[in-house]
């Protein structure tokens, strides 16, 4: 019986509307449960559109916000019991985020090395300038960059693809066991997307890091996921082994998602009539 790396049990999150009429609660996430094993490393994908609750779920896994009911356990430790700077640092050594907008992931007024070095010092216990630089270079090389390319640079001097890779490199410095990537490629140029997605594959296969990959794009999900869940309005509507679900979706919402994927039509007549029967939302 493999130990659980991450376990969510009946997790729900509702936002209360503050003010005089505080009774309206907006549920963002409703009763979500799943589990990711520690071994072997895997890529767990959460698919959903806007309003599905996927980002809220990510924030709860990262301990940025807390569930209103249910528990999130990392390595059997309930996240709501983490108190104190030391415990939080320990958690951050193991779990790291990648954000959607590569241009906002770093402060535009500061150089990138600043974050790399801080992570290396605080979370990776690097000793002294040389060690810090060595580790930063190592992490950058594993994502296809190098310290020479990044050193002394401001975010606007690099492309979206490079920035996102630098963000991944930073996340790798403490040798985490779990990376939570929230829409990591949606703001990256299409031609650079696959190289980032391939980096995730490399992290899983060669560095044994599990990844929670959050996206609305089924096509990239198909390429690298091991297991996935599909969320709609805060609830999980379907889940299971990735290829199986995407090849033969059973829930009507999953089927609509799949039908909406746009692919090149090599010989089809582009003026076929649209095929929706649902009422306008």
């Amino acid at each position: 019986m493999s130990t659980a790396l991450l376990e969510l049990t009946h997790v729900s999150k509702a936002y209360g509307r503050s003010g005089l009429f505080a009774r309206r609660r907006v549920p963002a996430v409703r009763d979500v449960s799943f589990r990711i094993d520690a071994e072997p490393a895997s890529i767990f994908t959460i698919i959903g559109e806007s309003g599905s609750g996927k980002s809220t779920l990510a924030r709860m896994i990262l301990n940025i916000t807390q569930p209103t009911s249910g528990t999130v356990r990392f390595r059997r430790r309930d996240l709501s019991t983490l108190r104190g700077h030391g415990a939080r640092l320990d958690f951050m050594r193991e779990v790291q985020p990648i954000f959607q907008n590569p241009f906002e992931a770093f402060n535009p007024l500061k150089r990138l090395d600043h974050y790399l070095f801080s992570t290396a010092l605080r979370l990776a216990a690097a000793a002294g300038r040389e060690d810090v630089e060595r580790r930063a270079d190592e992490a950058l090389r594993s994502v296809g960059l190098s310290l020479a390319e990044v050193k002394g640079r401001f975010p606007h001097e690099l492309s979206g693809g490079q920035l996102q890779r630098a963000a991944i490199a930073r996340a790798l410095l403490s040798k985490p066991s779990l990376i939570v990537a929230d829409e990591p490629v949606s703001m990256v140029d299409a031609s650079l997307r696959m190289s980032i997605v391939n980096v995730f594959r490399h992290l899983r296969d060669d560095l044994s890091i599990s990844i929670i990959y959050i996206t609305h794009d089924l096509a990239t999900a198909y390429t690298i996921s091991d297991r996935l869940i599909i969320m709609q309005r805060g609830e999980v509507v379907e889940g299971g082994e990735a290829r199986a679900v995407l090849d033969h979706p059973r829930h009507p919402y999953s089927q609509r998602l799949k039908a909406a994927v746009l692919a090149p039509q090599t010989d089809a007549d582009p003026s076929q009539p649209p095929c929706t029967t649902e009422p306008v939302r």
Binding site: L62, I64, H85, L89, M92, Q96, P97, F99, Q100, N101, E104, A105, F106, N107, P108, L109, K110, H114, Y115, S118, T119, L121, R122, L123, F154, H156, A167, R170, A171
Partner: protein
Amino acid sequence: MLAVLRDLVRHNPEFRIGLVLVLLVLTLAALSFASPYPELDVYVVPPDVPPSSAYWFGTTSRGQDVFWQVCTAIRHTLAFGLTVALVSRLISLGVGLLAGYKGGFVDRLLMSINDTFIVIPLFPVLVLFYFVLRDNMSWLALALIMSLLGWSYDARLIRSVAMSVKTREFTQTSVFSGMTTREILLREHLPYVLPIVFSTTLANMNWSIGLEVTLSVLGFTDINTPSIGGMIYWANQHTALVAGIWWWIAFPVIVVVMAFIGLFLLSVSLNEFIDPRSRLARMGQATS
């Protein structure tokens, strides 16, 4: 640093003029150390002499050289304004950044204190302090009291910038890079807050100088330390304008107005320069 100054001087006319004015005023202030007369002495020169080659700004009815008096006065006045501005900036930065970042209970507590201070009516309170302290009212005491009254408005401004910066993703990146709250506030958020701090510093100086001059003219401060307001006070006591001794009032006023305008122009041009949006534009980011 020097390159920045050079750029500003070359391309920004407001900065040039502001710099010239402020340098002039600072020169006068510095010259005061070379004053041949001790600052508080009276009847050291013939009184009521109009501006001439011997006495450039004329002399007062109390037998003081207006030129050297103005130099000393502007030095004290500037020092006063600077002290108030610096101390109140420190308080408003501390309160604003902390409240904006922490949110929740800390924010509510700090803002309650803040709002209490905003509502305090300044002028009556200052006059009250004068009547309580009387002869113990040194300019240092006045400076401290004014700092404690002058931080609250800007703290709210700083807090709103801090709150908006907190929601940007790089704040989370900093957290996950292991930075402490203090580091995040000082190194990540401060640059965004700095334009406000800077412009409010110079505005604050103008405010405090203005208030001090007002109080001095009315005699509500330490009239033993020469200041611009003090000079005008004494001039009024000796009914200088009626007696035709216009130079006693004119020159202090001209010099303090120069200081005001110079500080204002500097703050406006420097503010535009360090605003993150214009910094980014200069670094070449924005053609969008």
